[in-house]
C-alpha cells in the first residue's frame, strides 16, 4: 500500500510538472489576418487603393495592424500608421499612379510578435469617369432638368402662361415712381454674393429691369458693390439697359461703385448712404448674411419703400419684419421672367412647378410606404450624397 501511494504521488507530480512545462513552453497561437484583398477604390480619381480584411474577435490577442506595400514587385515597405485592432480596412492614398501595388497585413500580438497575412494580388488604380454613388442624384437632376426644358419648349410661343401675382415685383414700378416723384435716388444693394452665385445673377437681372425704368424716368440709381467682378458686370448691364431705352446720356457710371469687400464695413457704408442720401426706394436683392437686418432696419428708419429678396432662408424673417415687400426664396429667381413676360422664361417657371409636383409625389409616396414598413424610397433618398 505504501508503495502504491508513493507511486501515485510521484506519477501525479510528474504529470503536473510535464503539463506545466508543456503549457509554458508553447507560444500562444494567433490566426493570421484572413481574406486580405486589395482593390482599386471605387468612385475616385485613381489615386488610392483600399485594402480590406476580416475582423478578428476581441479576445484574439491582436493589438494592432501594420500595412506593408510593394510597388511593381519590389521590396515590401511599411506604410501609414499602426492601425487599431478593430480596423478592417485601410485606404492607401499615397500610391504611384499607373504602377502595380501588392499588400500584406501584419497583425501585432500582445507579445509584440508579428503575424503576416497572405500577400494580395497586384492592383493598378484607375480613375472612374462616373461616380456611381451619385447615380440617384444624377437621375433626379435629369428628371428636373427635363421637366424645365420640356416646359420651356412647350411655352416658347405661348404668351398666356399664368404666373401668380407676386406683390414684391408688382411694387417695383410703385417704388421707382415714388422715388421719381420725390426727386430722390434709388439704392440697389446686391448683397454679398460673388458673380458665381446664382442669387447674385438673379439679382442682376432684376437690376437690369429696374435700370430700364430708371432710364425712362431719369431717376438716379445708386449701386454700391462689394465684389469687383460684380461691379464690372453690373456697370455693363446698367449701361446697356440705358442704351436700350435710348437714354445713354442719363447713365452715370460713378453711381455704380465699389464700396468694400468686408461684410460689416459694407453694411456700415450702405447704412451711411441711406442716412445721408435718404433714397426713396431701397432694393435689397441677392445673398445676405448677418448684415441683412442692419441695412433693412436703417432703410426702414429713413422711411424708404423697401423691396427685399433673398434665397438665404435664415435672413428671410429679418426682411419680412423690416421691409415692405419680400421675395421669398424662389420668387427671387422668378423675378426676371415675371418682369419681362418672356414666354421661354415663363416656361421655365412652369417647369419648376412640374419639378415641385415630382418632389411632392415622392414625399407623399415615401411617407405612405414608410407607414407600411416599405422603405426603399427613404433608402434611395438617403443614398443621395
Amino acid at each position: 500500500m505504501t508503495y502504491n501511494k508513493t507511486f501515485i504521488c510521484i506519477t501525479t507530480c510528474l504529470l503536473i510538472f510535464l503539463c506545466g512545462t508543456y503549457a509554458f513552453s508553447q507560444e500562444p497561437t494567433f490566426s493570421t489576418p484572413t481574406n486580405v484583398t486589395a482593390k482599386d477604390t471605387p468612385n475616385d480619381d485613381g489615386s488610392s487603393i483600399t485594402v480590406t480584411w476580416d475582423a478578428v474577435p476581441e479576445d484574439s490577442g491582436i493589438t494592432g495592424y501594420k500595412i506593408l506595400r510593394n510597388t511593381d514587385s519590389g521590396e515590401f515597405e511599411e506604410i501609414g500608421k499602426q492601425l487599431k485592432p478593430t480596423a478592417t480596412q485601410y485606404k492607401d492614398s499615397e500610391i504611384e499612379k499607373g504602377k502595380t501595388h501588392a499588400y500584406f497585413v501584419q497583425a501585432i500580438t500582445d507579445s509584440e510578435a508579428l503575424v503576416n497575412s497572405q500577400q494580395t494580388e497586384g492592383v493598378i488604380a484607375t480613375g472612374q469617369w462616373f461616380h456611381t454613388g451619385k447615380t440617384s442624384l444624377f437621375i433626379a437632376m435629369i428628371i428636373l432638368c427635363a421637366a424645365i426644358l420640356v416646359s420651356i419648349y412647350l411655352c416658347r410661343n405661348n404668351q398666356d402662361v399664368f404666373v401668380r401675382r407676386i406683390p414684391g415685383l408688382e411694387a417695383v414700378d410703385e417704388a421707382i415712381g415714388r422715388a421719381t416723384e420725390m426727386g430722390r435716388s434709388i439704392l440697389y444693394v446686391l448683397g454679398l454674393g460673388g458673380v458665381e452665385n446664382v442669387a447674385t445673377i438673379a439679382s442682376m437681372t432684376i437690376l437690369g429691369q429696374v435700370a430700364r425704368r430708371t432710364a425712362d424716368y431719369e431717376t438716379p440709381l445708386r449701386v454700391p458693390c462689394n465684389d469687383p467682378i460684380v461691379l464690372n458686370v453690373v456697370r455693363e448691364m446698367v449701361k446697356t439697359s440705358y442704351l436700350d431705352e435710348g437714354r445713354p446720356d442719363a447713365y452715370q457710371e460713378e453711381n455704380i461703385f465699389y464700396l468694400t469687400g468686408d461684410q460689416f464695413a459694407y453694411a456700415a457704408g450702405v447704412d451711411g448712404m441711406m442716412i445721408r442720401e435718404k433714397p426713396a426706394a431701397v432694393f435689397l436683392q441677392g445673398t445676405f448674411y448677418a448684415e441683412s437686418l442692419l441695412m433693412a432696419e436703417t432703410g426702414n428708419s429713413i422711411g424708404a419703400i423697401q423691396i427685399a429678396g433673398t434665397d438665404s432662408e435664415h435672413q428671410l424673417p429679418f426682411f419680412i419684419a423690416a421691409c415692405d415687400y419680400t421675395l421669398i426664396g424662389e420668387e427671387l429667381y422668378a423675378a426676371s421672367a415675371y418682369l419681362s413676360k418672356e414666354p421661354m422664361l415663363l416656361g421655365s417657371l412652369r417647369g419648376q412647378d412640374w419639378g415641385k409636383i415630382v418632389i411632392f409625389v415622392t414625399i407623399i409616396l415615401g411617407v405612405t410606404l414608410e407607414l407600411f414598413g416599405i422603405n426603399w424610397i427613404t433608402t434611395l433618398l438617403q443614398s443621395v450624397r
Binding site: V233, M237, S241, E254, F257, L293, A296, M344, G355
Partner: protein
C-alpha cells in the same frame, strides 16, 4: 459675335462644370480646378478697377464738399497706411496685424453688436398683434423666447405643475423649431433649389442673358 462667343463659352463651361460634379476622374477634376483658377486670376484685375472706382468716388466727394466729406479723407489715410505697410512687409507684419486686430476687428464687432438693437426694434414692429396671423407670430415668438431661457422651465414646472410633463417650455420651443420651423424652411429650400436649377438652365442655354449686359 459680341454676344454669341460669351454665350458659347457659357454653354461649354456650364455643361463641363456639371459633368465635373459627377465625374471623379483626374481629367475632369483637373478641368474643374483649372476653371476655378481662371476665376482667381480674373479677380485681381477686377480689383484694380474696383479700387480705382473707390478712389474716384471719394475724390469726387472731397472735391464737391458733399455732406460728411471729411470721412473720405479717413478712407484715403487708411488705404495709404495699409498699402505703405502691407505691400512691402506683407500681411503678417506686426504693425498690419496690430491695425487689423485693434482697428478693423473692433469696428466689425461694433457693427455686429448693433444687430441686437435692430432685432429688438424689428421684433417690436413685427410682433404687434394687429391681425390673426400677427397674433400667431407673437404667440409663437413668446413661446420660443420663454423656452430659450432657464427661467421658462422653472415657471412651467412651478405654475403648470399639474401638467403631465416637466420642462415643457423648452420642449415646446424645441418642437416648434424642429417641426413647424423646419417644415417651412425645407419648403423654402426646395423652392430655392428648383429656382437655382431653372435659373442655371436658362443661363447655360442662353435664354437668360441679361447678365451679359441688357437684353433679355
Amino acid at each position: 459675335m459680341k454676344r454669341q462667343i460669351p454665350l458659347a463659352f457659357c454653354f461649354l463651361f456650364g455643361i463641363a462644370m456639371i459633368f465635373t460634379q459627377f465625374s471623379p476622374h483626374s481629367y475632369s477634376q483637373a478641368v474643374y480646378k483649372e476653371v476655378i483658377n481662371w476665376g482667381l486670376i480674373i479677380s485681381p484685375f477686377a480689383m484694380v478697377l474696383a479700387v480705382v472706382t473707390l478712389i474716384q468716388t471719394h475724390v469726387t466727394r472731397i472735391n464737391l464738399r458733399t455732406e460728411h466729406w471729411q470721412y473720405s479723407l479717413i478712407v484715403f489715410v487708411g488705404m495709404i497706411v495699409m498699402v505703405l505697410i502691407g505691400v512691402p512687409f506683407g500681411p503678417q507684419n506686426s504693425i498690419v496685424e496690430w491695425l487689423y486686430n485693434n482697428v478693423q476687428v473692433p469696428m466689425d464687432a461694433t457693427m455686429f453688436s448693433l444687430l441686437a438693437f435692430f432685432i429688438a426694434s424689428a421684433a417690436f414692429r413685427a410682433f404687434r398683434a394687429r391681425s390673426f396671423e400677427a397674433f400667431l407670430l407673437l404667440a409663437t415668438a413668446m413661446i420660443v423666447m420663454i423656452g430659450n431661457v432657464p427661467v421658462g422651465d422653472l415657471v412651467w414646472n412651478k405654475v403648470m405643475s399639474w401638467m403631465p410633463w416637466t420642462d415643457g417650455a423648452s420642449w415646446l420651443r424645441q418642437w416648434i423649431l424642429d417641426v413647424l420651423n423646419n417644415a417651412a424652411r425645407r419648403g423654402i429650400i426646395l423652392g430655392v433649389s428648383l429656382g437655382v436649377i431653372s435659373q442655371s438652365i436658362r443661363i447655360i442655354l442662353g435664354i437668360e442673358r441679361s447678365y451679359l449686359g441688357g437684353g433679355d
